[in-house]
Symmetry: C2
Subunit: 311 residues, 2 copies
């Protein structure tokens, strides 16, 4: 079986671990969000790709959900001693090495997809991980405060401000010119089923869907989504702050409608959201809390079962 | 008193610490060798500038003589886990931060002299440290082995091969186009005395002297050199391997003749080299082993005394 999954960071990565466990013989291709990517200290950081890679490759800080296990922070402290900004982004020493390799390879002319493949030869995540695009895109967030109305990088809004300022707009800079990375559309076309994990529907899945050609390719396939909202609250993270910014209610129903019946064929919701319905979409209610690897695998299995019913 | 000193790495840096101690009220400008500079993992490394900066700023690994005290090596180990080369150059985590700052500033368009000044605002080395040139120069060494005759970067010859292959030629790539960094010639012109520490006469002092305009400026001044050779052996390092490459005997006499009486006015030699002589040069014999900070300060004081006799 060939499975394609789109993925953001922590939630997506944990779901993918469940998916691997639920379908150990499947060939899984993961299309990763790169809208969160940022250049820090001259180094290119791809937080979501790395979270997927580290999580599936056994290198993740399990408690934190991002960054490397057994991490130290000497480089970051030294950069701070030089007065370097920003100091609000958590880069550990082990993680720095990844960004150094990425930056060196990008500088040598390799596209991000080939860089990611090279990094994955070390991590052996057990899936094929492809960035959504080799073209540079960055999610920027429009906020207003005493300094006026301005666009800041998504990471500044998310990590530094903890989404404390309302997002007035969320814009994927570069979206108009971004093409899917090599292999992305082909993987979708060859897929038996596409699974959307409970990643952020705006700044993770929504970002990937903005890359021209990806949504179009997906509408031709059987797509099963796992609701990122349980009983009016995000599974994890601050998806509500993002949904509010684009005028979508924080509910399993509203997110389904936002994705649309042209995209979604099956929608997995939590048991408390059993009433969710949309014409042309088969909705199934199951326990959706990714409380541990077994529960997560069960959710992935339910998504695959739903896909099986639909095909 | 205004003192200018040229300097390579470990030996030069230790001598400079002695010079500061011997002339606490002097305004010391250090012209640093950048021929050893190398790009590793996409990061620009200036080993000699950093050794001077860390040594005078209290951050050096005293035992090793280079790199940072209390250093860890997580980034290097991680890079190796990615299969990155080279693995023979010792970069610690604290040191990496310096190279990240330097590379980011160079990438933003700042010349190396301004980058060095910025780094020194943290380290407060107590001297003005200027790279010999903002232009890129690199010392390459021509060697022959089973792979044939080829030029390799100085660091590969020095650090990886430990100078085990004879140097057939030592070439400063970029020397023809390199101009002295801003402030270098001015500092020499304004100096009351110029001191050459016992740094490597070929790949440290010799490299600096190859930058057009520096040697010319120096010949107009009172220059006192401290012999890097004691009784036929280098004070430290592998200066003999470099001297052999350029056809100069490893002796205090030969190095003095190589520098020339047009450059050198006073020459400090070890007591066992008391017979050294050259027309137009005043030679003084003193204990020259930099065995501890006090002994080193005494050598610097002897150099300053000799300069005083000459002016």
């Amino acid at each position: 079986m060939r499975i394609v999954s789109l993925a953001g960071g922590i939630g997506g990565a944990r779901f993918l671990r469940g998916l691997k466990s639920a379908a150990p013989d499947a060939k899984i291709t993961v299309i990763g969000n790169t809208g969160d990517d940022i250049t820090l200290f001259g180094l290119r950081v791809s937080p979501d790709l790395d979270t997927v890679m580290y999580t599936l490759g056994g290198g993740i800080d399990e408690e934190q959900g991002w960054g490397r296990a057994k991490e130290s922070h000497v480089v970051k402290e030294e950069l701070a001693a030089y007065g370097m900004q920003p100091q609000w982004f958590g880069l550990g020493d082990r993680d720095f090495a990844t960004h150094i390799v990425r930056t060196q390879m990008l500088g040598a002319g390799f596209p991000l997809s080939q860089v990611t493949e090279a990094l994955c030869t070390r991590w052996q995540p057990g899936v094929r991980l492809i960035p959504m695009s080799d073209d540079r895109t960055e999610t920027h967030v429009v906020v207003s405060d005493s300094q006026g109305r301005r666009a800041i990088h998504f990471q500044e809004w998310w990590v530094r401000l903890r989404a404390s300022l309302p997002a007035e707009e969320i814009v994927l800079v570069g979206a108009d010119d971004a093409r899917p990375a090599p292999g992305v559309v082909e993987a979708i076309q060859e897929a038996d089923v596409v699974i959307l994990p409970p990643s952020n529907p705006v700044v993770s899945i929504g970002t990937i869907l903005q890359v021209k050609g990806i949504r179009e390719a997906l509408t031709a396939k059987t797509v099963v989504g796992v609701s990122p909202i349980i009983g009016g609250a995000p599974v994890r993270g601050m998806a509500d702050a993002c949904l509010t910014a684009i005028g979508v209610e924080t509910s399993a129903q509203a997110v389904l409608e936002h994705y649309g019946a042209d995209l979604i064929d099956g929608w997995l919701v939590a048991e408390e959201d059993a009433g969710v319905a949309l014409d042309g979409v088969r909705v199934v209610a199951r326990p959706l809390l990714m409380s541990d690897p077994e529960a997560t695998a069960a959710i992935a299995r339910a998504a695959l079962d739903l896909a099986g019913e639909l095909t």
